[in-house]
């Protein structure tokens, strides 16, 4: 079983567009949407939920005001300024500032603070027109996105084993932080989708740095390559210098948005050259997947 994650560093370069297309072309695969705080793959694949579950990501402090002596110890010790305190009203936890570290619970001399399991979101196993998909929705403004990504990946692995599938395709989140780390650690191959803008290149270099940090093989693809040919050449040069395979250059074409509005992948909707390039790119990515040890 092989696992491929599609990431970009910069948002909006076309991760989900590429993932949906690969998902349509690949056989014997399961899909995992690892962008849990702004998931979009379901908008193209219109999943039918097979199961829906709470995600208990961690614990949060809760104050029992019957026991609280309003001593203010929790307020003084909290490093996140997450406890508002007045001597009259006592402590009040600001859930958005709280890091759920439990220091207040350990420190309270009256044992008035306890840590309660919290539901941070939901995760789903769904059937789609092209196979099963695991996806999730982090609660609005919730923590623990990395843990939820890990859970989505774990579930997709269980499905792949149970259904004897040989590929997992993960749609990754933007950035280089906690959820991205959770989406790439231990995978066989990463595809970085970039664009020929200074931001796209800057962010590709950082996210490629992250892949090197974890020693994960990466491939590059350039979306909207004809927007700036000089920058596309810079990406080609970067790939040469770093011994990275450039698997495809997708042209800028508004037809991609039309496919999205029609809720189809760019290989289902007739996107002309875009469809053709993405098909060829998939063949190269597939070969790379098969050759990783």
């Amino acid at each position: 079983m092989k696992e491929l994650t599609i990431i970009s560093g910069k948002g909006g370069t076309g991760k989900t567009t590429v993932t949906a297309a690969f998902a349509t072309l690949a056989k014997n695969k399961v899909l995992a949407d690892c962008d849990v705080d702004a998931a979009d793959l379901h908008l193209i694949l219109t999943p039918q939920e097979l199961s829906s579950n709470n995600f208990v990501g961690g614990r949060a402090p809760q104050i029992n005001y019957d026991k609280c002596s309003k001593c203010g110890e929790c307020f003084r010790l909290c490093r996140y300024a997450a406890i508002d305190f007045t001597e009259e009203s006592g402590p009040k936890i600001n859930e958005f500032a709280c890091d759920c570290c439990a220091l207040c619970a350990w420190a309270c001399p009256e044992k008035a603070i306890s840590m309660i399991d919290t539901v941070n979101g939901r995760w789903f196993i769904s059937a789609t027109r092209i196979g099963k998909m695991v996806h999730a929705r982090l609660g609005i403004g919730e923590d623990n996105s990395g843990k939820l990504v890990a859970l989505v990946r774990q579930q997709s692995k269980l499905i792949a084993k149970a259904d004897a599938l040989d590929l997992i395709i993960n749609d990754g989140p933007p950035g280089i932080g906690c959820p991205v780390t959770a989406a790439i650690t231990g995978v066989d191959l990463v595809l970085i989708v970039t664009e020929p803008t200074l931001s796209g290149i800057h962010d590709m270099e950082r996210v490629h740095g992250l892949c090197q940090h974890f020693d994960i093989p990466a491939l590059i693809c350039v979306n909207r390559y004809d927007l700036n040919l000089i920058n596309t050449q810079r990406i080609r040069d970067y790939c040469n210098e770093h011994n990275l395979e450039l698997v495809g250059e997708i042209p800028l074409d508004p037809v991609v948005n039309k496919a999205q509005v029609a809720r189809q992948s760019v290989v289902e909707y007739d996107c002309g050259l875009v469809s053709q390039v993405v098909r060829e790119m998939w063949e190269k990515v597939k070969q790379n997947c098969n050759s990783t040890l």
């Binding site: 970009s8 560093g9 910069k10 948002g11 909006g12 370069t13 989900t16 962008d35 849990v36 705080d37 702004a38 998931a39 979009d40 908008l43 961690g58 010790l77 490093r79 996140y80 958005f96 500032a97 759920c100 570290c101 439990a102 220091l103 350990w106 420190a107 840590m115 982090l138 609005i140 403004g141 919730e142 923590d143 996105s145 990395g146 989140p173 933007p174 950035g175 280089i176 932080g177 906690c178 991205v180 664009e195 803008t197 200074l198 931001s199 796209g200 800057h202 962010d203 950082r206 740095g209 992250l210 974890f214 927007l227 700036n228 800028l252 508004p254 948005n257 999205q260 509005v261 809720r263």
Partner: protein
């Protein structure tokens, strides 16, 4: 006045809006809170005159006093400590720097040392009128998973009497929430596609939970469908600006050229945008 420029979906044009707004706004201060992938400097080309490390306090265990009781490992909510073969291991990448382990240790065997997780760079950039405005960005180290402390540190530099523009990271989880906390108004930049709308709805949900009022900018407004406009009408959210797709403008962006220096019409649009935001905040 503190304004966050956010989006939910990545790549809709947050940095384009935030940097161009900074270039035309009087008494602007620009803070790039997208510390995983900060891009504002590519357009504002600031002169950096101060660099500071951002550190996180992480535990160090004095093996001589440690009794291997494991209380620290039990107390850590982030599994950053474990007692393994007669030794307490610290997994620094999992540590949030909360200090709980140090507090609970019955032997007082834990002290703290600092770990560098990123940096802040401070300086100034030139506005379109030729004056200079304050620039700060946070930059997370590659491999560091915990970014909110860097955002928090950057926000300590906010000058309250300025028109403060926070360039937010994408998404709706902790780094984005950390950016929005304490702001007076939030501008969401979106695009008229199903992805744009889906992620906008999630982002507006965050603003509502934080009780921050918001307005919308529709970028590449002539591509895709009309669902964003319907949504804004339904939810009674003002549309502050619509920017049609323009290949010349996209090309200028790709080279790191600001929209307001590229086109006089856009300069006027951004000046109007500044006035509209100020009026919205004062409502």
């Amino acid at each position: 006045m503190i304004i966050a420029i956010a989006s939910g979906k990545g790549g809709t044009g947050k940095t384009t809006i935030a940097t161009n707004l900074a270039l035309v706004s009087p008494a602007a201060q620009y803070l790039d809170c997208d510390v995983e992938e900060p891009n504002g400097h590519l357009f504002l080309k600031p002169e950096i005159d101060q660099k500071t490390d951002v550190t996180l306090p992480i535990p160090q265990i004095d093996a001589a006093t440690c009794s291997l009781c494991g209380t620290c490992a039990t107390a850590c909510e982030f599994n950053a400590l474990a007692v393994i073969s007669e030794k307490v291991m610290v997994f620094a990448d999992l540590c949030h720097g909360c200090g709980t382990c140090m507090f609970v240790c019955p032997e007082n065997a834990i002290t703290e040392t600092s770990k560098v997780i990123g940096k802040l760079e401070n300086g100034s950039a030139e506005s379109v009128s030729g004056g200079r405005f304050a620039f700060t960005h946070g930059v997370s180290n590659i491999g560091n998973p915990l970014t909110p402390p860097i955002i928090k540190k950057a926000k300590q530099l906010i000058k309250n009497d300025h028109f403060v523009i926070l360039d937010s990271p994408p998404g709706t989880s902790c780094p984005m929430v950390q950016t929005l906390i304490g702001t007076d108004y939030c501008v969401f930049v979106t695009e008229p596609t199903p992805f744009g709308l889906n992620d906008l709805e999630l982002a507006v949900g965050v603003a509502r939970q934080l009780e921050i009022r918001c307005g919308i900018i529709i970028n590449r407004s002539d591509s895709g469908d009309k669902e964003i406009i319907n949504y804004c009408q339904r939810e009674n959210i003002p549309i502050l600006l619509e920017i049609p797709f323009d290949r010349d403008l996209a090309f200028a962006y790709s080279k790191g050229e600001a929209a307001v220096t590229h086109s006089a019409a856009l300069r006027t649009s951004f000046e109007d945008l500044h006035a509209k935001i100020v009026a919205e905040v004062k409502k």
